[in-house]
Each structure stands twice: as structure tokens, then as C-alpha cells.
């Protein structure tokens, strides 16, 4: 488990007014926050609105973030609060406008949908399948280093210790793994490149 905040430097720069650093944090976490918020909200529009509000609150509150927790824990907590407020507001709206509000309210369960549009779902499946296929084509050491980092939340130092290799090798293997997968993803992503950050 990583015990230092990997975002500390980007947060410090964002706190000092570097909008590029803040944008990098948005790029890094928007998908994770969208998935978290989608556990509470049913429509894609509500999810996106909530995600925007989360990052707006983070932006406004960044000056008060003292690093008592890691940045992602703080971000996640804000996302939960925003999502719950959206749920409460939407439930209230339904109660005020719908004669069958009781029935609708019972049906309003968090996590009913992931908030994704059909075309996004198809694209997501293509991306997921391509990444998995690309992972299977990697040299096993590269795949292992990347998976330990991305899914087991291990730090470079921990991976180095586990695989008995220098830290410098870990960072190179992780980079090479990402680069190899990125090349295989390129054709899938080409269609929407103009929309990306």
C-alpha cells in the first residue's frame, strides 16, 4: 500500500495557482469520480453535473487542503457528499412534481445504472477488451509491474522490493507497458481524439 501521496506535487502547484497541475488532477481522476458518483445517480446528465460540481468544490477548497489525508481520499469524500446532495435534491424534485412520487421514490435506488450512454458503453467495452488483449501480449515482467502499480496500489519502491529489481527498472517497465498498450489503443481512440484533453 502506498503511504505517500502521489499527487502531493501536483496539488502543491495547483494550490500555487498552476491551472495545468489542477487540470492534470482532473484528467487523472474524473473517470474514477464519475464511476463513484454513478453509484448514486441514475442519469448520465446528473452524473456529469455532479462530477463537475465535485471538481468545482475541490478547486474552490484547494487552498484549505492541508494534506492530512492523501488528495484522493479528500476528493472521494467530497464526491460522496456531492452525490448524496444530488440524490436528496432529485428525490425532493420527484416528490414535488410527480403524483406517483412514493412509487418513484422507492424505485430511486443508488447504483441502478452506471450513468453511461449506450454509445459510451460500446466504446468502453472496445477499450477494455483492447487493453486486456494488449496486456496479454506484454512481457510478463512488464505486465506484472504495471498491474502491481495500477490495481494493487503498490509504490515503485514496493514493486522493486517484490520483484527484486532496482526502482529505476520499475519506472522503465511501467512506462514501457503503458506505451505498448497505448500503441494498441491508438486505432480505437482515434475517432474521439479531438474531444480529449
Amino acid at each position: 500500500m502506498q503511504n505517500h501521496d502521489p499527487d502531493a506535487e501536483l496539488v502543491r502547484l495547483a494550490q500555487a495557482g498552476d491551472s495545468r497541475a489542477f487540470e492534470a488532477l482532473v484528467v487523472k481522476y474524473q473517470r474514477r469520480i464519475a464511476r463513484h458518483v454513478a453509484r448514486y445517480l441514475r442519469s448520465a446528465a446528473d452524473v456529469e453535473d455532479a462530477v463537475q460540481e465535485v471538481f468545482l468544490r475541490v478547486y474552490r477548497g484547494l487552498g484549505g487542503f492541508r494534506g492530512e489525508s492523501i488528495f484522493y481520499t479528500w476528493l472521494y469524500r467530497i464526491a460522496t457528499n456531492v452525490a448524496l446532495r444530488h440524490v436528496a435534491r432529485l428525490s425532493a424534485d420527484v416528490s414535488l412534481t410527480d403524483e406517483n412520487s412514493e412509487e418513484r421514490e422507492l424505485a430511486f435506488e443508488p447504483g441502478v445504472t452506471d450513468g453511461a450512454l449506450p454509445e459510451r458503453t460500446v466504446m468502453a467495452e472496445q477499450i477494455g477488451a483492447t487493453v486486456q488483449k494488449a496486456l496479454s501480449k506484454l512481457r510478463p515482467q512488464l505486465a506484472q509491474a504495471l498491474m502491481l502499480y495500477e490495481t494493487e496500489n503498490k509504490s515503485y519502491a514496493e514493486i522493486a522490493e517484490m520483484l527484486e529489481i532496482p526502482v529505476g527498472t520499475v519506472r522503465t517497465w511501467i512506462f514501457r507497458a503503458r506505451e505498448s498498450i497505448a500503441k494498441r489503443l491508438e486505432p480505437v481512440l482515434r475517432a474521439q481524439r479531438s474531444e480529449r484533453w
Binding site: 501536483l10 492534470a24 467495452e125 506505451e179 497505448a182 474531444e195
Partner: protein, 67 residues
């Protein structure tokens, strides 16, 4: 340079190197693209491969409007 982008996302850079990486990301579309793609790869490995679809752009636009 993409090695530095990879390390930027992992918090493996010094202050000076982080600024240098952000400068590259800002001035080089390919490096910028790498930030998005490397992030997507990590999320996909955790089971979330939803495309960006302009999400980040709209978040930043709202922050510019209301932040």
C-alpha cells in the same frame, strides 16, 4: 519524454521535473495525449474504460465560468 509523463502521473517527479513535465504536456499535443491515454489504461485495468468524450474539457470550462 513520455517516460516523464508516466512518472508525472505516478507522482515520481521532483518539483522541478514536475514543472518541466507540465510545460511539455502544455506545448506538445503528443505528450498531452499520453496523459489521457495512460490514465485511461490505468482506469481500464481497474475495470473502468469509459472514454473521456470531452468530460475533462467540460469540467475545466465550468471551473473557468464558476470557479
Amino acid at each position: 519524454m513520455s517516460l516523464k509523463v508516466s512518472r508525472l502521473l505516478d507522482g515520481d517527479l521532483t518539483s522541478h521535473e514536475t514543472l518541466d513535465a507540465l510545460n511539455s504536456v502544455t506545448s506538445d499535443a503528443n505528450e498531452r495525449d499520453r496523459v489521457t491515454v495512460y490514465t485511461l489504461i490505468g482506469d481500464a485495468l481497474r475495470g473502468n474504460s469509459t472514454p473521456d468524450d470531452g468530460y475533462t474539457k467540460r469540467i475545466m470550462e465550468r471551473i473557468k465560468r464558476e470557479g
